[in-house]
C-alpha cells in the first residue's frame, strides 16, 4: 500500500531546466531535467521510494507522473518542487485571482509512489491534453 502525502507544490527554475530550455524541449535532456520532482530525503523515506522511481502528483487541476530526484535544496519536508515546464503545468490551475498571474507556487497537492509509472515526453504530454 503506497503512502499518500499531503504536500505543498512549488514550481520554478533550475540550471539544468534552464540549459535544456533553449531548443531542447523536444529532447530527452528536457524530460530528464523537467519531468522530475525534487523531494526532501525525509519525504522520500515516508513515500518508500528512492531516487529514479516514479511518483504521481495530484492537485485539484490534474495529475502527472514524474521521476524522483533527491533535493539538493533541502531541508524542505512537506514541499515538493517541480521545475517549470509542461509537467509542472499539467497540475497548475489557470485562475489568476483577477491580476493575470496564475498560482505557480504554494499549491496543495498529494503525492504517492507509482511503481514503473509512465513518464510522457513533452510532445506526448501536450498532445494528449
Amino acid at each position: 500500500m503506497s503512502e499518500k502525502l499531503n504536500v505543498i507544490l512549488i514550481t520554478g527554475r533550475t540550471i539544468s531546466q534552464g540549459t535544456a530550455r533553449e531548443g531542447k524541449k523536444t529532447q530527452n535532456e528536457y524530460v530528464e531535467s523537467a519531468a522530475i520532482c525534487e523531494l526532501d530525503p525525509e519525504d522520500i523515506e515516508k513515500l518508500r521510494v528512492k531516487e529514479g522511481d516514479t511518483v504521481r502528483i495530484e492537485t485539484s487541476y490534474g495529475a502527472v507522473i514524474v521521476r524522483v530526484v533527491i533535493s539538493t535544496q533541502a531541508p524542505h519536508s512537506g514541499i515538493v518542487f517541480i521545475p517549470m515546464g509542461p509537467w509542472a503545468n499539467e497540475i497548475i490551475g489557470p485562475n489568476t485571482d483577477g491580476i493575470g498571474m496564475p498560482s505557480f507556487k504554494s499549491i496543495s497537492a498529494e503525492i504517492e509512489a507509482v511503481p514503473d509509472g509512465k513518464i510522457l515526453d513533452a510532445l506526448a504530454l501536450i498532445k494528449g491534453r
Binding site: I8, G12, E22, M101
Partner: protein, 434 residues
C-alpha cells in the same frame, strides 16, 4: 583562424553580463570564457539539431516547407483578418523587434503581452500602488552591507548575481567584499543560495505576507507574535535590528513571492517595508527579472503606449487592465482567434488549460529553435538569435540598457525577428489598404 571577441553581452538571464569572451572560428563559436552554465550553454549550443532551417506551413496532411516570403504573407493574411489576435512572447528578443511588434499589434488591434504577465506582473501592479525604491546593480556592489534574497534562488536562475554584483565582489565602500556584507536568505527551501547565507529564514509556504508585516512591526518597535510563518520572534527581532543598524540594505525578491499566496499584495507589503526602513537607513529593492530582455519589453511598451504589459489595442487606443487584458485571462476566456508567438514557448510554460486554449487557435511562431509551441503551430518562421546573430538593445534587470552584439552571421536565409515582423507588418498594411 580563430578570433577572440571580448565584452560580449550574454542574452540569457536578467543579469545581462557584458564581460563574456567568445572564441570564433570562421562562422562558428568554438569556446566561451564565461563562468556561468546558462550563458556558456547559450553560446556553445547555438547550432544544435533543433535549429529550424526552413519555414513551414500546416496543411491537411501535416506540414509543408515554405519559402519565407510565403510564410510571411500567409501570417499577414491571418493576422489582418483576425478579430481578436494575440501577440505574445518578446522576452528573448531585442528592442527594435519589439518596436515593430507593437506597431503590428496596433495595426491589427491585437492584445500584446510578454512573460511579465506570469513573472513580475504582480510586482508592477504593487509598484503602481505604493511605488518602489530601487537602484542600479553597481550601487549594490559599491554600497550594500546587508543583502537579502527573498523567494528567489539566484544560484540556479541568475548564477553570477552574487559574484558579479551583490555579495562577493569588492566595492568602493565595501573593500573587503563579502566580509563587509551580511547575507540573509528567506525561502521555503534551503536552496543553494540559502546555504551561503549567514541567516537563513525558512518561511512556511504562503506566509510571506505575514512575515513581511512582522518585520514592519518589529522595526518600529512593536511586539510581534511568538512565531510568524515558522520564524521565531527572536529571529525576526534579530534581523530587524540588523536592518536598522545597516547603512545600505538591498532586498532582491523573486517568484516565490509573486506567484504564491497574496501575490501582488506580498510585493505591496515588501515595497512598503523598504519605504518604512527609510525612517532609519537606506533601503532599496529589486525584482529578479528572469529573461534577458523582459525588462526591455516593459520599457519599450511603456514609452510607446503608456503601459508596461498586457496592452489591448482592440479599440484603437492602448487599454491596460491585467486580470482582463493579460495573456492568461484572455486565453482563459477563449477570446483569442489567432496568436503570434515570438521568442517564447507558452505551450511549455502556461498552465495546462491555458495551453489547451492556445492550441485551439491558429498559431504563428517566430523562433530559432523547435519548441513545444512550434510543434503545434500552423506557421513556423525561423529567426536569427538576438544577441549572437543579431544586434539590438536589451535592458538588464535594473534597467541598464546595453547593446547586444552580432558576432556571427545567421544561417543562410534566416532573418532577424525585426526583419520578419517588418515584412509581416508591411503585408498587413497592404492588405488593409494603407
Amino acid at each position: 583562424m580563430s578570433k577572440i571577441i571580448t565584452n560580449v553581452v550574454c542574452p540569457y538571464c536578467g543579469c545581462l553580463c557584458d564581460d563574456l569572451e567568445v572564441v570564433i572560428e570562421g562562422n562558428k563559436i568554438v569556446e566561451t570564457e564565461c563562468p556561468c552554465e546558462l550563458g556558456s550553454g547559450r553560446f556553445l549550443d547555438l547550432d544544435i539539431a533543433t535549429r529550424i532551417r526552413e519555414s513551414r506551413i500546416k496543411v491537411d496532411e501535416g506540414f509543408k516547407e515554405a519559402k519565407i516570403d510565403e510564410a510571411i504573407e500567409r501570417a499577414a493574411e491571418i493576422l489582418a483578418s483576425a478579430r481578436r489576435p494575440l501577440i505574445y512572447g518578446w522576452s528573448s528578443t531585442e528592442c527594435d523587434a519589439i518596436r515593430v511588434g507593437i506597431e503590428l499589434a496596433e495595426e491589427v488591434g491585437a492584445i500584446i503581452d510578454n512573460t511579465t504577465s506570469i513573472c513580475h506582473g504582480p510586482t508592477i501592479l504593487a509598484s503602481q500602488d505604493v511605488g518602489i525604491s530601487t537602484c542600479t546593480l553597481g550601487e549594490i556592489k559599491n554600497r550594500a552591507d546587508l543583502v537579502i534574497y527573498w523567494g528567489c534562488n539566484p544560484m540556479q536562475a541568475h548564477p553570477r548575481h552574487l559574484s558579479r554584483y551583490t555579495f562577493f565582489p569588492r566595492g568602493f565602500f565595501r573593500e573587503k567584499g563579502q566580509d563587509d556584507r551580511t547575507l540573509v536568505v528567506i525561502d521555503v527551501r534551503k536552496t543553494d543560495t540559502a546555504k551561503l547565507a549567514k541567516h537563513f529564514l525558512q518561511v512556511k509556504p504562503n506566509y510571506d505576507y505575514e512575515l513581511i508585516s512582522a518585520f514592519r512591526l518589529a522595526i518600529k518597535g512593536y511586539q510581534v507574535p511568538d512565531s510568524v510563518g515558522g520564524i521565531s520572534r527572536e529571529k525576526i527581532e534579530e534581523i530587524a535590528k540588523i536592518m536598522k543598524e545597516s547603512h545600505f540594505i538591498v532586498i532582491f525578491f523573486g517568484l516565490g513571492v509573486t506567484m504564491s499566496g497574496a501575490k501582488n499584495r506580498n510585493i505591496d507589503n515588501v515595497l512598503s517595508l523598504t519605504r518604512d526602513l527609510h525612517r532609519f537607513t537606506k533601503c532599496v529593492i529589486m525584482p529578479m527579472r528572469g529573461h534577458y530582455n523582459v525588462t526591455g519589453f516593459n520599457e519599450v511598451l511603456t514609452w510607446e503606449t503608456g503601459f508596461p504589459y498586457a496592452v489591448d489595442f482592440g479599440r484603437g487606443h492602448p487599454k491596460y487592465n491585467p486580470g482582463e487584458t493579460s495573456v492568461i485571462d484572455v486565453l482563459l476566456r477563449e477570446e483569442i482567434d489567432v496568436a503570434l508567438i515570438i521568442a517564447s514557448d507558452p505551450i511549455a510554460h502556461f498552465p495546462k488549460e491555458i495551453a489547451k486554449s492556445l492550441m485551439n487557435v491558429p498559431i504563428i511562431v517566430i523562433d530559432p529553435y523547435e519548441s513545444l509551441t512550434t510543434e503545434v503551430a500552423s506557421i513556423v518562421i525561423p529567426s536569427a538569435v538576438a544577441g549572437i546573430e543579431v544586434d539590438g538593445t536589451a535592458y538588464r534587470m535594473d534597467h541598464v540598457p546595453l547593446r547586444l552584439r552580432k558576432i556571427l552571421e545567421p544561417p543562410e536565409g534566416i532573418l532577424s525577428d525585426r526583419e520578419i515582423l517588418s515584412r509581416i507588418l508591411e503585408n498587413v498594411k497592404r492588405l488593409k489598404g494603407r
